[in-house]
Amino acid sequence: MPSFYEVGNRSRGILSWIFSTDHKRIGLLYLFSILTFFAIGVLLGFLMRLELIAPGPTIMRPQTYNAIFTLHGVFMIFLFVIPGIPSIFGNFFLPIQIGARDVAFPKINLLSWWIFMTGAFLAILSLFTGGGPVDTGWTFYVPYSLRTPVNVPLAVFAVFILGISSILTGINFVTTTHQLRAPGMTWFRLPLFVWAIYATAWVQVLVTPVVGITLLLTLTERLAGVGIFDPAKGGDPLLYQHLFWIYSHPAVYIMILPAMGVISEIIPVFARRTIFGYKAILFSSLAIASVGSFVWGHHMFVSGQSDLASILFSLLTFLVAVPSGVKVFNWVSTLYKGSIEVAPPLLFALTFIFLFSIGGLTGLFQGALATDVHLHDTYWVVGHFHYTIFGGTGFALFGALHYWFPKMFGRMYHKKIPYLAWAFLFVGFNTLYFPMLILGWKGMPRRYYDYLPQFHSLQLLSTIGSWILIAGLILLFANLVHSLFKGEKVGDNPWHGSTLEWQIPSPPPKENFEKIPHVERGPYEFR
């Protein structure tokens, strides 16, 4: 059967892509657009590191630096990690893994890509219009965001638009999972990746609107001076923070849950055995998604919120850490008595476990009330979230790319290079981010253009780490891009996976399945 590359729709060339309603084509559209934004984000991160290489002004002025970390945050969060795994791999593989021909609303799926691109376009436009690039940090805290002369209105509007795209994607995935499962695909036979995307989709649908309204109010505040968040008019700036984090804390679980889903796919395949504790992993996803929506106040321990609220939020924060632990323990146990081949996807999955554990455990220090008073808004937090987001979601993305690459493109990459790239990435990553934890503990605040001399050596080390890391990144992507064209053709199931996507040709045909399969066994039964 011809693959979905050959069979498009009525249009031709690029049009057959950007107007395609095929979930696989849309997945690839997301892949390339998101990777482009990611490249911009990385570049900005690199520039920040250069500025911080020594105290005092080095390559830019304070205002530029402030704009750069804001953009870095906005691009990485809203254009890279939040849409990342769900929009790329969720789109591509969720329908296949449940045995469907497409998502429930293919047209809305395409629409949501267009909305995503519109949001991205507006975000970029905001750099060149109005008062220039935003300098508020990705959190847009009031009242600073109401006072600064830069183009906050367009930027928050852009993020609002991106939110709509995210909601639509979520609606699509929830409905798809409910309605389009193949016969015999019971809830407990769903691959864990599907469960993770499903849980994430609920979070997307339910909390994104809250940040939507927050940003809209910030916009009207700027344009019309409504006064709801403006302390000069009686508004309470802490309420902005509440509303912002009601979304943005769950958003970190939007980033990590799909990543955890990827890990739950990769480990059993390369250990050749059923996953340990399927239900435990599944329910822990649901627990993280639900309880995780009620811990937002841990970003506000020193903001002046009531002590009572801080105490309760701290308690809830600690409780959501437990299901993450459950996942980690189950993954490690899946290795027990397996038959393990450390292929590149597994290497990244294991690295995920290590780096995410550091990220998560550093989160515990912030969840504890006494320590967060000291650590809040320092480089400790910066270290924490790079370990979780990048060490977690980022490495899971690497894993997913290497795992599903042969299925998506029908070719295999060069198998040795990823190990070399990994070595650079691993060393670079830890050299870049571990010093940040120490810096934070020593009291270096974040969002600092300049710093006191006692922080110099660690900042320098961190900058050196960023160079190593980027070398690894280039190697990794060069290999993948090269293999896109020159890679060896592979069969349908190079890893001997047992989920449905491995039972169809690589790359999949347009409608995925010639005949909708009848599912008779669990997802990870290899024998």
């Binding site: 437990v322 323990f329 189950n330 554990s357 009291g443 969002r447």
Partner: protein, 309 residues
Amino acid sequence: MIRGVTGLSNEVVDNVFLFIAAISVFMLVLITFLMIYFTFRYRRKRNPQPEDIRGNLWLEILWTVIPTLLVLSMFYYGWTGFRSLKKIPEGAFKVKVAARQWSWLFEYENGVKTEELMVPVGKPIHLLLTSQDVIHSFYIPAFRVKQDAVPGMVAPLWFKAGEVGTYDVLCAEYCGRQHSYMLARVKVLSEEEFNRWYEGKGKELQMERARGLPRGPQLLQEKGCLVCHSLDGAPRIGPTLKGLFGKSVIVLKDGKEQKVQANDAYLKKSLIEPNAEIVKGFPPIMPSQKGLISEEEINELVRYMKELK
């Protein structure tokens, strides 16, 4: 746990930190070790036939319950530490702290105002934090204390310095261009030294008051003008104030360029409504002094600015 025996915030926080660190390091080492060990022990070459184990209820319970207990203990210590960070001892020495873009101003009960926080050693200090514009955060890393200063709120913070010395104060909440330069210091003095300083300053102040208004240079300092304006002719974040009076300034009013004469009215307006007319080449970021400055103070400032030739 030894906690807060001496009532020093840094010891309280460090104890909690060490407690969590111990558990975390243990967990990390355990997980990493098992992961690597299994990967080697059951590599495909050595173990070609996997065993199919679907799970184990007891293990699941074990690794739900134990971490739960561990995190609850972390929560508990975090909380008790927090309690002692929050419970302000009675009779603590009060100092008002005003945060503004981009400087701190400390005001003591006898009316003395300083840019560095002077405190006696070993005595609890009770700060009352306010902000005049955006959110800032008062942070003394050495004492492990931090509190946001939010406009429209008065936020408390207390600490006790264990040793004489000088410590950094940093602004930990992003507040704009000069956020990373919004620094100050805490000078911890011995009790006698502090009292000498405190009373001396108090008397000085009374004498000044008796003589009349505070003088211009001091006001500029206190109001935080000098963070953005120089008196020597060099532009900083804002234009220099030297030789400003009587000059003709090019301003943007409602987006249109205009030439205005820097007279009394212009200077006054620049303080109260700084964003009505923006000096060309500068960003409209000067915080309005409306409500923060008295009529007399304005007059004094204007008078002084005329002198700056």
